[in-house]
Symmetry: C2
Subunit: 289 residues, 2 copies
């Protein structure tokens, strides 16, 4: 419906060029640019070089106020548009409108913008919604992936993700609970290592108990479970516990939970899911690394 | 069994300090250090700043020859120990032994070292295997997560991962095929977006057809499927196709496949799994960004 916005991935700049020389030639019609950027856990040291470069090239940064607070010291003087929780679509709209006016815009979000992040709603809105009378159809779009919350949490716990993985958000605001429940059952049944995003909020406290009950139908009570708060950020804390006890610990929207599979072990304080190398050492091939 | 190696995460250096000043004070007993680093897709622009910093601090870099080839220009003169495919455990051993001799060692791997990567076998070996007569028990260990292959591939395709996700490796060298098959069935049944790692090799060609047949039992033939070769690397190519046709395209060990769920759509050449914002816009809360 409505007008169609051309979208393509911006040609990456020279990877060895750290000075941010991707700007447009003078005299050329200024094409707006929308970069949707995952900033990872929040500390600058976990940004990718590409994220840093694109932020430096941007004229305006749009994001959730909490994440912007993490980066405000890095770019003093740059125009920043912050908004609060629940304003995801407003942020996407704002970023798209500015890019259509010819600005270079960075729409930032925590973790990987491509995993439950803003890449989806921003692309959907860009591709399906009308532009304003002074806005341009053609803008450059780049999705800049960032370090995901699951990668961050795993690195804190040890090596829990050496085997097949399910990632499930327990927030039932956008997805009906029966759908989520079916996924929890499937993950537990098929012995996935399972990461739970958005496990519990102030007003949503029952889902985590239901998830625990589902896993206990399929996995032993002593299955290792890791809880990480603020992974790779200030105030990081980790707890390594078990399936039958983990809900007794503090869990919030800042927690990510990893439930081990039948192979997961606690070794020297680390949560490790063996991949099976010991057993079949001589047969190794086809593996990723 | 055997001796026990103390392991702790190294205290992160000052995130704003880009000069790599994490070295040890003169006169102090030199403690070895093992950093297990995920380098992401391979281009320097997708390294995290932390990965870059730790590589710069390292005296020796151990890794798979193909990945080391990608980074050799960045650190000329640094000692590099390269080995071929199927030598995962050799690399881990080598890196551990050098760290126990007091060296600062970077054990590098592609993608995120914590997702099917070297973090698992390296920690397992470190914690369970004996040290040599001249080796020290105490070394600093840090796991430095990197941009995962799934994050890289998703960013190339659009925004396919806005909904619950299953990641399954089709390599049955370390995991029995019936276990993998059960996971494929569970993922298809529960309407996960599903990423397939190691989909096909020269000698292993049937699993991808079995996976396709399983998904066709649960999902419509026109379900979107994305194939990305060399995501965010040179020679990147993407194909957006459908569940009933995707196995007719070229698939190799350099491909990552993302099978959409029942909500996934192709919009303007992008593969997008809506998260449901449109429907329940006014109710948004508890979401990640």
């Amino acid at each position: 419906m409505c007008s169609y916005a051309s979208v393509w991935r911006a040609k990456p700049c020279d990877p060895k060029n750290q000075t941010g020389q991707c700007s447009f030639s003078p005299g050329q019609k200024k094409t707006g640019r929308l970069a949707i950027i995952g900033l990872g856990p929040g500390r600058r040291e976990h940004f990718t070089l590409r994220a840093l470069q694109v932020l430096e090239e941007s004229e305006v940064i749009v994001g959730y106020e909490r994440y912007l607070a993490l980066i405000k010291d890095f770019w003093p003087g740059r125009k920043v548009l912050a908004s609060g929780m629940r304003k995801e679509l407003d942020r996407c709209w704002q970023a798209i409108a500015l890019a259509r006016q010819g600005m270079r815009v960075a729409l930032v979000c925590g973790g990987d913008c491509g995993i439950y992040g803003l890449a989806g709603p921003a692309l959907e809105l860009l591709l399906s919604q009308p532009k304003g009378p002074d806005e341009d159809d053609e803008i450059e779009v780049e999705i800049v992936p960032g370090l995901s919350a699951i990668s961050a949490a795993a690195s804190v716990l040890g090596a829990p993700l050496m085997n097949d993985l399910a990632i499930i958000s327990l927030s039932d605001l956008l997805i009906p609970w029966p759908v989520i429940k079916k996924r929890l059952e499937a993950a537990a049944y098929a012995d996935f290592v399972t990461a739970l995003y958005n496990p519990k909020s102030k007003h949503r406290t029952e889902q985590i108990l239901e998830a625990q009950a589902i896993f206990l139908q399929f996995q032993p009570p002593k299955t290792p479970v890791g809880i990480v708060h603020n992974a790779l950020r200030d105030e990081e804390r980790k707890i390594i516990t078990t399936l039958d006890e983990f809900t007794q610990h503090e869990i919030s929207m800042l927690s990510l939970i990893i439930i081990g599979n039948s192979k997961t072990r606690i070794i020297g304080g680390n949560m490790i899911t063996p991949r099976g190398y010991e057993i079949k050492d001589t047969e190794l091939k086809d593996t990723k690394c």
